[in-house]
């Protein structure tokens, strides 16, 4: 195999002109980060609600929450993405579907990927939140009741604040996963990192440089996220609990 390495390719101009391939990569990085962060917000919000509902002493609510988790965990992410992107606009009320289809393609791709990734990850976050709440001693619940709290108050003031701190370490890995999973958005054409890697291969015929650069960027995202979450873990840990100081 003789391959012509050419790292200078990143600085050469793109066919559309005006920018370099390096700028393409950073555009991809921006979309990956934006997509992942916005999906993470949805995942946290929905995940906490579903996780709490799974532990509520009310048959209907907990069944509903369990159904949510099972559905979102047992359908492949790629299939879910295609369902949001191709199927959902057809099933929505016609006016909404049309509005979606008439918006800018990038908006469509981003919205579909964000909702998909957010709700998919929410199911995983919910499982961690449920485990966190269930790991709390029963006495916490009893103490809340003894103080005359209503059910929502027990959750609001006693259980959730504790669980939120306990689940930080397991959520770190979910947070890392969301960045990796965001690469799936390449299949519907969103120009995130993986897409840009493929574009670079198509335009420059320098596949190794392109893939190595993108792989390094993913590794960099990992390192940054781990560093930030480590610091958050140190600040939020609860002494006496798993992962907390002794």
């Amino acid at each position: 195999m003789n391959y012509n390495w050419n790292w200078g390719v990143f600085l050469s101009e793109t066919p559309s002109g005006g920018t370099t391939y390096l700028a393409w990569l950073f555009e991809g990085l921006q979309w990956t980060v934006m997509l992942s962060l916005s999906a993470w917000l949805i995942a946290l919000l929905v995940g906490f609600v579903i996780g709490v509902l799974r532990t509520v002493p009310h048959r209907g609510w907990s069944t509903l929450a369990t159904a949510y988790v099972e559905i979102f965990r047992n359908i492949p992410l790629l299939v879910q993405l295609f369902l949001w992107y191709f199927v959902m606009p057809e099933l929505l009320p016609e006016a909404w579907g049309m509005a979606f289809k008439q918006s800018h393609p990038l908006t469509q791709q981003f919205l579909a990927a964000m909702v998909c990734l957010g709700l998919f990850t929410a199911a995983r976050v919910a499982e961690q939140v449920r485990a966190g709440i269930e790991s709390l001693p029963k006495g916490q619940w009893a103490a809340g009741q003894a103080l005359g709290f209503t059910l929502p108050q027990i959750y609001r003031y006693v259980l959730v604040p504790m669980a939120a701190r306990i689940v930080v370490p397991p959520l770190t890995s979910e947070f890392l996963n969301i960045f990796k999973n965001s690469a799936v958005a390449t299949t519907i054409g969103l120009i995130e990192l993986s897409r840009q890697a493929q574009q670079l291969v198509d335009y420059t015929a320098q596949p190794y440089e392109a893939f190595i650069a993108v792989t390094v960027l993913y590794l960099a995202i990992n390192v940054v996220v781990m560093f930030l979450m480590r610091r958050l873990e140190q600040r939020t840990r609860v002494p006496g609990f798993i992962g907390g100081g002794q």
Partner: protein, 224 residues
Amino acid sequence: MYEFDWSSIPGALPLLAKGLMVTFEVTLTAIVVGIVWGTLLAVARLSSNKLVSFAAASYVNLFRSVPLVMVILWFYLIVPQLLRSVFGDALGDIRLASALIAFSLFEAAYYSEIIRAGIQSVARGQIAAGLALGMTYAQTMRLVVLPQAFRNMTPLLLTQAVILFQDTSLVYVIGLSDFFGTAYKVGDRDGRLVELLLFAGAIYFIISFAASQLVKRLESRYAR
């Protein structure tokens, strides 16, 4: 309101079944190779030889920090060139071969983490006991530690297998006709993408849900 028309599915069932077989082929290969290679990686990572354990840790961390989509694309870039330099141009579908290799090597990284935790869950005294009986380290691992470790981690390995089964749909990025790829192509061809995607989702759900319920049952049996 959208009008459903499911009529293109019955005729496409043989094609879809063929796609499902490809999905299972990739899944099973990745499970078997992934567990074997993952076990070696786990043992290497726990080795007292610094260099060996560093190499294994680097492998695992590298694969675990890169998206599966990128790994599949990477191998689709490398494998055909390697295979061609070995076998010449007389090769069948390179996509399947590169998908099999990509999934096996990728899953090995995840399996090795599960297996490492399984090995570490076996009491330290067991290794000492094996060594005291005059077994070599390799014998102790193979005859004493690993059998107990695998018993402990069976549920986790199976759960990972269900995740893997779902992840194989990502071979879509290299155009391999697995179950999902076939469903997409049929839907695209007949202009019935909505129905075919819903059908594919339902089938994936049924298989994964049934499998994970089985794993749960197994788990509670083991726990007793």
